[in-house]
């Protein structure tokens, strides 16, 4: 039985499983709300009006300032590898907005007592199990061969979220400070904002940054170096090796 619901938002497609029509509608509204406030493609969004000088950031709604504060906090935590500012100085919160929308959508989906999965542009958050019997499984796309899946992440609570970023990422939200060390990073974390931000920060950073993130934050990482090496935390090695226990 096919119980997948999809809709387009934020320039990508959201896939929902385990959601009632009512919940899906509410999830859609969550994404639309974030898009309306933060899209820099929509000239009428709050953030576009901040960028063009029509509104001052301190005069924006509290929720917008809270998101900016959250992004600044991540800038500190990542030593600047992640930043909510474009090179021209404009505030760009696209690096956290999709993940925040997924997070809030998860809160909506949690109101029903069913297992669910939401995927938006390659960021995935789940609850429970797939069909109640096996972990939700997410394929990781090979950065060198995009028509190949190199690894499979099995999401097991509390590790409920996965996100991937790449160097060829849209320029709007990854600005490298140094020569590229990593071409792609996949991060699995307990929450989707952490996964998304760190995936971005790893690709924007270097080996030292990667070591620091994986020491400071409880995440698993699979990172593809520009030199062809693949980096993995102990918890991530099973994603790309055949040693993982087969699904019953």
């Amino acid at each position: 039985m096919n119980d997948v619901l999809t809709f387009e938002t934020m320039g990508t497609v959201v896939s929902l499983r385990g959601a009632t029509a009512a919940a899906a509608s509410e999830v859609r509204a969550v994404f639309a709300g974030y898009d309306h406030r933060y899209s820099l493609y929509d000239p009428s969004s709050v953030l576009s009006r901040v960028a063009d000088g029509t509104i001052r950031l301190p005069d924006t709604p509290e929720q917008v300032r809270d998101v900016y504060a959250l992004a600044l906090d991540w800038r500190e935590r990542t030593g600047g590898a992640f930043t909510p500012h474009r090179p021209d100085g404009a505030v760009d919160l696209s690096g956290v907005v999709k993940a925040l929308a997924i997070r809030d959508a998860g809160a909506v989906l949690d109101e029903a007592d069913v297992d669910w999965m939401i995927s938006a542009g390659g960021d995935v958050l789940v609850r429970g199990m797939h069909r109640g019997v096996e972990p939700w499984s997410v394929g990781v796309v090979d950065p060198a061969h995009r028509d190949t899946i190199v690894g499979v992440v099995r999401l097991d609570a509390p590790r409920r979220a996965v996100a991937t970023s790449g160097t060829a990422e849209r320029g709007e939200h990854i600005w490298r400070r140094t020569a590229p060390t990593f071409v792609q990073a996949t991060v699995v974390a307990d929450d989707v904002v952490t996964a998304d931000v760190l995936a971005t920060a790893i690709v924007a950073g270097d080996e030292e940054d990667l070591g620091r993130f994986t020491s400071d934050v409880d995440v698993d990482v699979l990172a593809f170096g520009a030199d062809g090496r693949v980096w993995a935390t102990p918890g991530a090695t099973s994603w790309v090796t055949a040693g993982a226990a087969p699904v019953p």
Binding site: N2, V4, T12, T164, G211, T214, T233, P234
Partner: protein, 156 residues
């Protein structure tokens, strides 16, 4: 300026994973039997026609979907991208990129090249029973979106 409180003191938990499949790996290429017509790009952003032929066994429990499922064509700035998957017993056994762009951004027709979804030497034991895909956007956004669409249609 930036505080690194614990440089050097930490035994990093990240390690280089030794892999033999980075460049020399020869993924087995299976040739698709169909020849796809080129040039008919999807109109607008979003989806174009997508034929799917699959069957779902009525048994309870795990998925036993089999068949081929074509994802929506996804518009990228470089052209349309569309993916077809082959599913056997609820697992993806093959993926065919029907329309892709090359690294220079030119649209290319690669229907004569089907890349396997699995790196056999790495994932032989796992098969691809997946419900979602995660990849970097930009280069793979269109691909990921279309692949996700095919998976959704299969209801894996």
């Amino acid at each position: 300026m930036r505080a690194r409180a614990v440089v050097g003191g930490i035994v990093s938990s990240i390690a280089v994973l030794v892999i033999g499949w980075q460049l020399g790996g020869q993924p087995a290429v299976t040739a698709p039997s169909q020849s796809t017509t080129s040039g008919s790009s999807a109109s607008g952003s979003g989806s174009s026609g997508s034929g799917s032929s699959g069957s779902t066994a009525s048994g309870t429990g795990g998925s036993s979907v089999s068949g081929t499922f074509t994802g929506d064509a996804t518009q990228t700035r470089y052209g349309p991208v569309q993916v077809r998957i082959t599913v056997a017993g609820g697992k993806i056994t093959d993926v065919t990129a029907l329309q892709l762009t090359d690294h220079d951004g030119r649209s290319v027709q690669i229907s004569q090249q089907a890349a396997p979804i699995l790196r056999q030497e790495a994932l032989a034991a796992q098969s691809a029973s997946i419900q979602a895909v995660s990849g970097a956007t930009f280069t793979s956004e269109g691909y990921t979106t279309s692949l996700q669409s095919a998976i959704d249609k299969a209801g894996l």
